[in-house]
Structures are given as structure tokens and as C-alpha cells.
Amino acid sequence: MLIRDILEESGKKFSDITAVKWLKKKEILERSYRELMENVQTIRAGLVKKGFDGKHIALIGNSSVEWIESYLGIITGKNVAVPLDAGLPAEDLTELINRSDAEALFLSPKESKLLDEILEKCSGLKSIWMLQEEAFSASDELSEKALRNDIKLSDLTEFLSEKADNSGDASGRPEKDDVATIIFTSGTTGKSKGVMLTQNNLAENVISVDYEAEPGSVLLSVLPIHHAFCLVMDWLKGFSLGATICINDSLLHMVRNMSVFKPGVMLMVPLMIETIYKRISGADPSVPKEVLAEKVFGGNLHTIFTGGAHLDPYYIDQFAEYGVEVLEGYGMSECSPVISSNTVKVHKPGSIGKPLSNVEISFDNGEILVKGSSVMSGYYKMPEETAETLKDGWLHTGDKGYMDEDGFLFINGRVKNLIILSNGENISPEEIENKLALGELVGEVIVTGENNGLTARIYPEQEVVQAKGFNEEQIREELQSFIDGYNKKQPTYRQITGLVVRKNPFIKSSTRKIKRQEVLIDEPAE
């Protein structure tokens, strides 16, 4: 099965239904399934015409109709889409563009500030298209740089203007085992890994998640589109059902947009549920629950699917009082992404639901292992990491858990070093430690996840302390100012919000490695 098969069927069945809605200032704009599929086909054919067939093509930007049409234009042909996190620093993005061997890039106009560095460093790129339907005018400096580096700089009009003379779809259909997309995920070695998902991986996940909805059901997409959970479950699953997917323009406006679009269903990470709960519980207690539910949830919300991190079951009961059912699931990019989920019919609070019908589960010393048609083919150009994770067809999740007598899966710990924040972001502490270690006053550093944020525990470099004659207060000030500088360049989920200045070096193992499990105990935060 291909994603293209699913989309083509939706295009036929739901042609007049609205597929996507979004806000431009205060006006709501929309695209029908017919219009969406026309644009997808035009971009797919256009890519082939321009010589991109079987190539890797990156995308950088927040959710937009242009982003999703371009993404689908890539993966419904033989090209491979590489969605990247627009919030990453430019140096990380250019590294990922190069490491994924991308030959073209779709870039959101909001991220045009990245152009200079991308043009400078990504010599493998041949074309960049700005994700806009109006002509893009680059500065003379950028145009010259693009010309000098042999990169064509343009926009979507290059595709969409050819719609009129669409002489048929020249692109071939991909095979079901062809890689459709590469999604980057935090690695435990400090280097993010490109998860290769095939056409069949994605399509099987879309089909196997047990959720039915009437065509035209309204879904509000609030998660970052480069994440597998959002991409596959909001967008691909939503399109398979003929849903109308509304785009949340900013996390600042999530609650306001719930009133604007009045969704019935939303996908959230636990952090969002916690934040909305604060807003509900902080409201005037004399306001009746129905009125508050209408104000906060928009009036039609009945179901929230959550995943990416563990949710305290307390919230499930609390939200039920406002008529909203919260269903928790479990997944990871490597599994396209859903592995198990509570469903409308079958659920148990505190569990992460029953495994999908295409998933087999096993345990190795308590670690959850997964086998099935949605399991990735491997990490891009990382044979060692692939071999460590995929053994005899079983994917080692790094999570510890168990299955109860009714077949519900539960998680109770982790094998790997990753920090899972309640916004669903997986943080590799080593990746951040490597960056913080560059500070001249940073002798040793360990990053830990505490109070739903990241804390840096730093043992100051004693030579610098002595040379500069710093006292304790000055050390703290200097380190905080170094961290503030680091934070400014990072997406919010990678920012350090706690600082512990250590008086003693970390306890090390016999191989001189810091013992991570001891760092919270031997010098706790004051």
C-alpha cells in the first residue's frame, strides 16, 4: 500500500469537502480535497520535469497548506521527503540538509533569514523553492550568492503556473518498500539520526490506527508538522478519513483558535493538556463548566489523542468533567510512529492502549520490542546504530514496560539516556552537553530533565576560576549569562531552565565516565 493510493481515494471520495483551513490575518481560507490533490499532482509532476526523481528533498517550515502540498508532492512520486525542524539553529539545519543528501529544499518564507547560510554551506542543493504562491524577490546579495553557488532560488509559482498546461502525470509510482521520508530524531550518542520510513510503513500506520470519523469532521493541528506524530496522525490519517484539518498558526493562539475553528478532535502532547488544565483550573469557579468548556475548548471538542510522553491519568478524569475524552497512545518515529493506542471503544486510563493490529510486541529484560509493517527500514547512513536498534527484525524501543492480563501496554521506565519532556520532545543530553562544554568556565557538565525542563549541572573549570579570581556569586552570574546566550539560539524545548553550580567534580566510573545516575543524589539542587 502507498500513501498515494490512500490520497487518491480520498481525492475522489471527498473532492468537494474542505481538506485544509487556515488563517490569514483574521480571514479563514480553505482548500478542498480536489484543489489539494490538483496541487499535489502539479508539484509531483513539476519535480520530475525539473529533474528531481528519486532524489532527497528537504522541507523547513511550520504547518502550512503549501508545506503539506509540497510534502505530498514529494512522497507521492519517487522522491524522498526530509522534513526538518524550523526551530533548530542554522548550523544544525545546514548540517542535516547536507547529511541527508538533499538536492532541493522547500523553505517557508518566515525562515528566509536562513537563506544566506544555506546558500553558503549546502553545496549539494540545486534548487530552493520558497513555500509561497506569490513571486519571491530575493535581495541582490542573495541572488548573486545563489548564482555563484549554482543554486536556483524560486517559489511555488514555478510549479503552480504550469497547472494550466498539465500534460499528464509524468512521474512514476513508487514501490511500497521505497523510502518515502527521512525523519530526524534525537540520538543517544549526541548526533540526531535519520529514520527511514517506507511508503508501506506510513500507509500501514495510517490504516492500522483504529479511529473512524465522518468526512468533514474538524481537526485542529497544533503539533509541529515535522514530527511523525503530527505528520502521520493529524495529516495523513486525517486525509484518509476526509477530515477538515485546520492549522493552528501559533502556539500563542491555540486556545483562541479552538474557538475559531471549533474542532471535534485534536492531537496533543501532555504538556498542552497540562497547560490547558492550568487555564481551566485557574478560571473563576462560579463560571459553569459548560460555559468554560465552550470558552476554552471551542464548544465541539470531544476527543484528544495524546502521545509523545507519559500523561498523568489525573488529567483524563479532569477533562472528562468538561466532556472531553483523552486517549493516550505510544509511539516513536522509528515505528511511523504509533505502536499502541487507547481507542474510543477500548481504553484503560494509565495504559498506553493495546498494540495496533499490525504490531507484535515482545520484551527483553523489560525493554519493549516491536515488530511489524510500520517499523522503519533503518537509520540513514548509520549502519551501526541501525544494527543496535533493529535486531532480528525486532526494534528495541529503549522503553521499559509490561502488558497486563487484558492486553494493555504500560510503560514504567527507560533503558536509554534520552530525556523525554512532556511536550514529547526527546532530548539527547549529550548533544546539549557537547555545546555547553564549549563555555570556557564549564569544566564538567551534565544535563538532566527536572520539573519538565532541562537543568545544567556544571562543575566550573577551576583554572579559569582561579585565573579570574571569581567568587561563588560571580561564577553563577557568568554561567547564567553563558546559558542565556546559549538559550537565545535554541528552540524552547532545548533551552536550559535550571542551573546547579557544583562544588565538587562529578563521580566517575573506572573508565572516567561521569556516573549519570548519581548526579541528582550526590549534589542535589538547593
Binding site: S250, L252, L271, T275, R279, G282, N452, Q495
Partner: protein, 78 residues
Amino acid sequence: MKQEMQFKTIVAQYCEVKPEEMTNEMRFREDLGFSSLDFMSFLGELEDTFDVELEEEDALQVVTIGEALELLDRLVEE
């Protein structure tokens, strides 16, 4: 003054600190325990309550209560 109290009442929804105990130097993330999303949601609530429009990039640079109040004052005046 009324604006400042209203502002602090909104802040108090997201943390354990009472409005009267808040100082301008307090940092949203580190001192008040705001998560990244609490802060975004709080900014959205400021927009709705005071009928102002924040530039997301500028607003996310705000670290302390004092800075947020200053930004709000500026926007309300405009």
C-alpha cells in the same frame, strides 16, 4: 496599576506564586516554573485580555515579569 494587577492575576494561573508576591526581577521559566508552552499560552491570553498583538519573536525574548510588563505597557500605549 489596574493593568498590572490584571496581568499578575493571569501570571498566577500558571504558577504557585501569589500576585502580591511577584517582583519585576522574577524570571518566568526559572523562578515561576513556567513551561515553554505555559509561556506561549500566557502571551496569547495577554493578547486577548488587553487587545494587543504581540510579535512572536520579540515576545519570546522576554525573560522577567518586569520585561513583560514593559512590553505590555508599550503595546497598550500604541
